[in-house]
């Protein structure tokens, strides 16, 4: 791909939604109130695993102000699949997760919902809903789930396996994936050094600051409005319709501003309950989760157990690798173990490998997507093993990775050959960075780790409307989590040659925007951006037609050049027409111009990242502090570099939190004991240093500007980078996260 010249892309304009967000005017999920609105509250199971014998709502219904109470009996359990991108979402599980029918499968599982005229009345009534439970033993780890005789969560669970395996009766294994290449035994036999370790990571949460929130209203004609904070308004519409047996054509979903998601605001938890309550009461119903509910009842990511075995030659080249991945799914199938398996060896060219990955149900909340789902834990395992080999062989951590790094034409472990990818460029950038060039300070450990993420394509639409003043509006349907509206406006400005301030980007409701898949998979800037670019080019083509009309020539005699239409023939004396000049004559040349495009790119360009972490450990307390951190990543093309850096810095800090402190702490009964921000300790400003973000740009040929996704891969390397840094700071290899002070101190005192 030849070097492109950009005018707007690559600059750093003020985001268009910025002023609303720094003045408090931007409306998030909980900010909408409607006249006559009721407040909905969910009644949740106090047990991690229990059969529901009966539910008595009579006392709760007697509370003044209570207008309706629903249980699983009021919502049909549906058994349908919702088409979604390349896969399908099983709504039976989502439906049972919405309201437990026969069994509560985790502490916090919804069993009923109350609507009342005040939040206080709804909460008071919720406490009076009387549920008769038969307690069952909770299954709280993959080890227990796989033991013979362990309690079975779902009697009808069948292992979905690729390649297929024979079903052997009741199981907690929901899925199995196997990947292999070459001759593993021969590979290990040829190795000079073999390292084998078992790693464990805890349940951890996305930790978005805005709790889930929505308002639902049922109009007199049966049409339903839902206002909600979601990563996928079309998904909310279609899933709600399917789960409640309603016509999606009668549901309009308006996404609010979204206060973070990281994958956790893809599932539907509250909206169908609010709709049922609104239908029963004929009043609008608002539902907002408390932080406690967000921890207990929305989807965190999997706790994992990962065994890795790596064999290498003395020069550091990896000749064989095997891994077994066990990921907790929570109460229903669907952990990202398969993605973990596909990502784990993706950065390295390994001739002989075998991976098996298991999706295991346990009595914890159903996991949701969390930023590069499944990849960070797998990266912890492989990156720690590589670090150990490098240390033993006395090799430089960057060099051993360069020795094994994949490049264009190598096969990905999940099948296809890579196109142009930036992993080697990323590693070279690490080598050249000030951080890597600076000697490690005394008492500090330095760790390096890398990461891979696929990035997603999927369906997106965009509409670009040209104003007669030469300004433009762009409409898409993807909630803007991290600055995608600004990026889209920049693309319109780039294509039309108008100032970015003259472009107005909007995220519209499901009746207004063309169908667009969820804001996820690092796909918005890439795929929806591609639709925006094509819609802008559609406008350009129409502008050529109007210029031709003004000049009285055919369209073929015009061409587009740097924000204006020019005559094809150089000798032609006609003066080029700018966008504002043509726009001023829209009415006389045929009316308004609207450009539109829809795309469905099969797959985005994969992203690679490498992070450097310097950590200092207090040997008396086990307290550690990240003292310097650098993130390097191939963005393909950074449309708005500030927001690309922001994704890298944010992903790094989220990963540092995961590595050092964050974990769900469970009692033996399966109750989360730290369901609040005080005890679930996410990084605060004083915990972190500045995070250097170094962007590498190896263009992705499948995108007009070369864009790859950027949002997810930054959370893949930090777990390994922190663990490797800790290992070099202490001389001890750590295999279990988080590296919290008590765990580090215990190891320091043991001395091994």
């Amino acid at each position: 791909m030849s070097e492109q010249i950009f005018t707007t892309v690559g600059t750093r304009p003020i985001r268009h939604d910025g002023v609303d967000k720094v003045t408090g005017r931007a409306n998030y999920g909980a900010d909408l109130s409607l006249p006559g609105m009721l407040y909905g509250v969910v009644v949740r199971s106090p047990h991690a695993h229990a059969r529901i014998r009966s539910i008595d709502t009579s006392a709760a219904l007697a509370v003044p102000g209570v207008k309706a109470i629903i249980t699983g009996q009021d919502v049909p359990l549906v058994d349908v699949k919702l088409g979604m991108g390349e896969g399908a979402m099983d709504l039976k599980d989502m439906s049972d997760n919405l309201l437990a029918r026969t069994k509560a499968l985790y502490h916090g599982h919804a069993v009923a919902a109350v609507a009342a005229t005040s939040l206080a009345a709804a909460r008071a009534a919720a406490k009076l809903v009387c549920v008769d439970y038969e307690l069952l033993e909770p299954v709280l780890s993959v080890d227990r789930a796989l033991e013979p005789g362990a309690p079975i969560l779902h009697d009808d669970l069948v292992t979905q396996a690729r390649p297929p395996i024979e079903a052997t009766g009741p199981t907690n294994i929901a899925g199995r994936l196997e990947l292999q290449r070459g001759d593993l035994a021969a590979g290990f036999a040829a190795a000079d050094i073999v390292v084998e370790r078992v790693f464990r990571t805890p349940t951890s949460h996305q930790g978005y600051i805005e709790p889930h929130a929505c308002v639902a209203r049922v109009n007199e004609d049966g049409r339903i409005n839902i206002w909600t904070s979601t990563q996928g308004p079309f998904l909310v519409r279609d899933a709600t319709a399917a789960m409640l047996g309603l016509d999606a054509a009668n549901i309009k979903v308006t996404p609010s501003e979204i206060g973070g998601g990281f994958g956790g605001k893809i599932p539907v938890y509250l909206e169908p309950l609010a709709v049922v309550l609104a239908r029963q009461t004929q009043r609008p119903v608002k539902m907002v989760m408390t932080r406690d509910e967000v921890f207990r009842a929305s989807g965190p990511t999997s706790a994992t157990k990962i065994r890795v075995k790596l064999g290498a030659k003395k020069d550091g080249s990896i000749v064989a690798a095997s891994a077994s991945l066990y990921y907790e799914a929570g109460a229903y199938r669907g952990s990202p173990s398969g993605a973990g398996a596909m990502c784990m060896f993706a950065p390295y060219n390994i001739p002989n490998f075998h991976i098996d990955a298991y999706d295991v149900v346990v009595n914890k909340p159903k996991v949701a997507a969390y930023r590069a789902p499944g990849s960070p834990m797998a990266a912890l395992a492989i990156e720690s093993a590589i670090d150990e080999i490098a240390t033993t062989l006395g090799l430089d951590p960057v060099e051993i990775r360069l020795t094994n790094a994949v490049t264009e034409g190598n096969l990905a472990p999940y099948g296809p050959p890579y196109g142009p990818i930036g992993f080697r460029a990323v590693l070279e950038r690490v080598k050249a960075s000030d951080h890597w060039q600076t000697p490690v300070a005394p008492g500090v450990g330095r760790g390096l780790a890398c990461g891979f993420w696929f990035n997603a394509g999927m369906s997106s639409s965009a509409t670009v409307m040209l104003g007669s003043d030469g300004s433009a509006a762009v409409i898409t349907g993807n909630p803007d989590i991290g600055g995608t509206r600004a990026a889209q406006a920049m693309m319109v400005a780039e294509e039309l040659g108008i100032p970015v301030e003259r472009v107005r980007p909007s995220v519209a409701d499901t009746d207004t925007a063309g169908f667009t898949e969820i804001t996820a998979g690092s796909r918005v800037c890439y795929a929806t951006g591609m639709a925006v670019i094509e819609a802008s080019r559609d406008v350009r083509e129409q502008l050529r037609g109007r210029a031709a009309k003004i000049w009285g020539v055919t369209v073929d005699e015009t061409r587009w050049e740097h924000g204006r239409v020019v005559p094809v023939t150089p000798s032609d004396a006609r003066t080029p027409l700018t966008v504002p000049e043509i726009a001023a004559k829209l009415a006389k040349t045929g009316g308004p111009i609207i450009g539109r495009a829809s795309v469905n790119p099969p797959m985005a360009g994969p992203s690679f990242a490498a992070h450097i972490c310097d950590i200092q450990v207090d040997r008396e307390t086990g307290v550690s502090k990240v003292v310097r951190y650098t993130a390097v990543q191939d963005a393909g093309k950074a449309v708005h570099p500030s927001y690309v850096e922001g994704q890298m810095q944010g992903g790094a800090s989220q990963g540092i939190g995961w590595a050092l402190n964050e974990e769900y702490i469970y009692s033996a009964a399966g109750v989360m004991e730290n369901a609040g921000f005080l005890d679930y300790r996410m990084p605060v400003a004083s915990d972190l240093p500045m995070i250097d973000a170094l962007i590498v740009e190896v263009p992705h040929p499948g995108h007009p500007y070369g864009v790859r996704g950027v949002g997810e891969v930054p959370i893949v390397p930090p777990l390994g980078a922190v663990a490797n840094a800790m290992s070099h700071a202490t001389g001890l290899r750590f295999t279990e996260l988080p590296l919290s002070p008590p765990r580090v101190l215990a190891r320091l005192q043991q001395g091994t």
Partner: protein, 159 residues
């Protein structure tokens, strides 16, 4: 029975009714329609509900609405003057110090309380002052830079 509260809100006299056990956060959002102040946790741990009470930064989810009787409350809606953004607001925009933006009002209010007492803070002082505000998107890098930038701008304007 509801209580009648007289207070000063964003430099203007204001009155509202609240339940005796209602939080200031709830009164601001539900009685007064000022939804710029956000609820992230309701337990004083995230700082999204930060407001100034007589110039001091407080978590409005931990203050009873009735406590603001006769006192002065400043929310995010009162930080800009007319059509002029506060230097902190300008700096947050320029530095791209927000991604989802839900924590931004709390950060700006808390940072204003810092700059009101210390117009030349070090990076470390900014980091510790803002340690009561959680941001999950940015990693704080650009937030800290924005606060330092705003302070520098305000110093140069005053000089």
């Amino acid at each position: 029975m509801k209580l009648h509260i007289d207070t000063t809100l964003n430099q203007e006299p204001a009155e509202f009714l609240c339940a005796p056990d209602e939080t200031l956060l709830s009164a601001l959002r539900n009685e007064l329609g000022l939804t710029g102040t956000k609820e992230g946790c309701g337990t004083g741990d995230c700082g999204a509900c930060s407001v100034l009470l007589d110039g001091r930064v407080v978590a409005s989810c931990l203050v009873l609405a009735a406590e603001v009787q006769g006192r002065a409350v400043t929310t995010i809606e009162g930080i800009a003057s007319g059509t002029t953004l506060h230097p902190l607001q300008t700096a947050f925009l320029k530095e791209a110090a927000l991604q989802c933006g839900v924590c931004t009002p709390g950060f700006i209010v808390a940072a204003k309380a810092l700059l009101d007492v210390n117009l030349d803070p070090t990076e470390e002082q900014v980091r510790y002052w803002l340690a009561g505000n959680l941001c999950r998107c940015t990693g704080y890098d650009k937030i800290v830079r924005a606060v330092l930038d705003a302070a520098a701008n305000m110093r140069s304007t005053r000089a």
